[in-house]
């Protein structure tokens, strides 16, 4: 799917939120859309989805999403950062999506199930009554269960439990090469392993557009051993949250982490750099117990 944003601008009354942004997305591009709060990421996404009026031009496969919503949005899956407070039951929401998007309920339910949400047990519950994690799993299940060519996701893994997070990375890895993605986040380390391109926004402008190494296997897991100089409670709690277990008097910890989570794991370890004596990370096969992420 091709996306073209030419000189895109957007004002809210007197505030100029987008100031002539240009963006080209080609099939296979997986973009991390990063920037601080107020940089214009959400506004850019809403313009792409045809939800905002704007200056300049947005074309999705040559179609203006404001003019032909069905044509432009039919192949775009969207996962918002905050789940909407829908009172619809889960079953009704799936049925509605299937009808409107021409997708298969079974496939959406299957993906939700792989993420750890059993649709049969929540089918009659209102969407708004689900937990934050359950809502996120369902919205990801719906977006990935549709026949899409572009996924737009806003902090998609933020509310996921450790197992679901690992499965989610695996599901992204299963997508075909021509599949495009835009993943919005205000932290690059959260999404860097998932993408092959970084677009940074600042005060309504695109200030960086660069390609990154995408050789990380999204489905990979890493066997990891950390040795520390002395046991501390804070470190035990932090690494325990990643599912690590200790031996040798709480100075040696072992566990598995999801491949795309390596940067976040190292970020956590950096807080205890003075304690760490040795660190081993080895790419391995699917573990018996899933890799954990706090």
């Amino acid at each position: 799917m091709n996306i073209r944003c030419n000189n895109l601008s957007k004002n809210f009354r007197r505030t100029e939120v987008l100031k002539g942004a240009d963006l080209v997305l080609d099939p296979g591009d997986r973009i991390a859309l990063v920037g601080s709060n107020g940089a214009g990421k959400t506004t850019l996404i809403r313009c792409l989805l045809g939800e905002y009026t704007h200056g300049g031009q947005v074309l999705v496969d040559g179609i203006d999403p404001r003019a032909d919503r069905t044509g432009a949005l039919g192949r775009i899956g969207f996962v918002p950062q905050l789940p909407p407070p829908l009172k619809l039951t889960v079953g009704r929401l799936l049925g509605f999506t299937a009808e409107v998007c021409g997708s298969d309920i079974g496939r959406m339910a299957d993906i939700s199930g792989r993420l750890g949400l059993d649709i049969d047990t929540v089918r009659r519950r209102p969407f708004a009554k689900l937990s934050g994690g359950e809502k996120q799993k369902l919205m990801i299940g719906i977006a990935l269960g549709r026949e899409t060519e572009l996924l737009i996701m806003d902090e998609p893994a933020a509310n996921l439990d450790p197992t679901a997070r690992h499965v989610f990375f695996g599901l992204l890895a299963e997508l075909k090469g021509g599949h495009s993605m835009i993943i919005s986040s205000h932290r690059l380390d959260e999404v860097a392993p998932l993408v092959n391109r970084v677009v940074e926004m600042d005060r309504g402008r695109i200030v960086l557009d660069d390609h990154v190494d995408d050789r990380i296997d999204l489905a990979a897991v890493l066997r990891c051993t950390v040795a520390i100089s002395r046991p501390t409670q804070a470190f035990a709690e932090a690494i325990g949250a990643w599912g690590f277990r200790n031996d040798a008097g709480e100075c040696r910890w072992q566990g598995m982490i999801a491949g795309p989570d390596r940067l976040r794991f190292l970020g956590m370890l950096s807080r205890y750099a003075a304690l760490v004596e040795n660190l081993e990370m080895t790419e391995g096969s699917e573990p018996d117990a899933p890799a954990k992420t706090p």
Partner: protein, 281 residues
């Protein structure tokens, strides 16, 4: 977008909105109120009493209609004005309008769903009274009942349209609810019972008074409801001559049914045009 596909989407969206409404707390309160009114009228023995010539089921229906006139519009407005601006604030539009649905089916589907959800309890309570009458062997004034249903549907649609317009114009739920309340109060004030009566007393030209009465959908409903059981409009006083001379019995009933529908349609249409031109989320 093809017409058939658009209609399918509209039906889906109407069903979704009905599903949302049925699970909302306001709907429960609303249904209980209209059910409660009907039960209250039965229990208080209104059907057995006679006041100004109305008795039995006729008396009950007249009272129900008069109470509905006061409650239905404000309920319609308060619940409807939250629909567009409230969904926008809550992020519902951001998610739902990221799906490949046309704005037309979205807006009109929502409107149709809301209309059915809000009108059904009102109609249901009315039909309960009719069934009760049948079971008691009372003669049912079928023509009047059908006109009452038409008038209620017309009133509900009118305020639904006004509510959608206010909702699309408002930037926050608080503003929308305030505007809805003021609109209801304004129309309520210009009833013959309140400000209009006072203005006539103060020497307002009759033509102006009649014009205001005809333009106010609440007054149109009230007058038509009276007309159905009081064809000479004795209750209304001298104004009755103007109404009956200019419109006639059937002519006024047609006006009172069609005019609020047109007002509602115009407001909803304007709301759609504004919504379509602006930001959705």
């Amino acid at each position: 977008m093809g017409t058939v596909k658009g209609m399918k989407q509209l039906i889906q969206l109407a069903k979704a909105d009905i599903g949302e409404s049925l699970r909302a707390r306001w709907f429960l309160v609303y249904t209980l109120i209209f059910g409660g009114i009907m039960v209250g009228l039965f229990v208080s023995g209104l059907t057995e009493s006679r006041v100004m010539g109305f008795t039995g089921l006729s008396r009950l229906l007249v009272t129900y209609l008069q109470i509905t006139m006061a409650i239905l519009p404000i309920f319609m407005l308060i619940t409807t004005v939250r629909s567009v601006v409230g969904d926008r604030e809550a992020g519902v539009f951001e998610y739902m309008l990221a799906m490949p649905v046309g704005i037309g089916p979205w807006y009109w589907g929502k409107l149709a769903g809301r209309f059915l959800a809000v009108f059904m309890p009102v109609l249901g309570a009315l039909l309960v009274a009719v069934v009760w009458g049948l079971l008691r062997g009372v003669t049912i004034p079928w023509v009047q009942v059908l006109f009452y249903i038409g008038l209620l549907a017309s009133l509900a649609w009118c305020f639904l349209g006004i509510g959608m317009l206010i909702s699309t114009l408002s930037r926050s739920t608080d503003v929308a609810q305030g505007a809805a309340f003021l609109t209801w109060l304004f129309l309520l004030l210009f009833l013959d019972l309140i400000l209009l009566g006072f203005l006539i007393q103060e020497g307002l030209p009759p033509e102006s008074a009649i014009l205001i009465a005809l333009a106010n959908p609440l007054q149109a409903f009230r007058t038509a409801a009276m007309l159905l059981f009081d064809p000479q409009l004795v209750l209304l006083g001298p104004s009755a001559y103007v109404i009956l001379d200019h419109f006639g019995y059937r002519g006024y009933l047609v006006w009172a049914t069609a005019y609020p529908v047109l007002v509602g349609l115009a407001c909803a249409g304007l709301g759609f045009w504004i919504f379509k031109k602006g930001d959705y989320s």
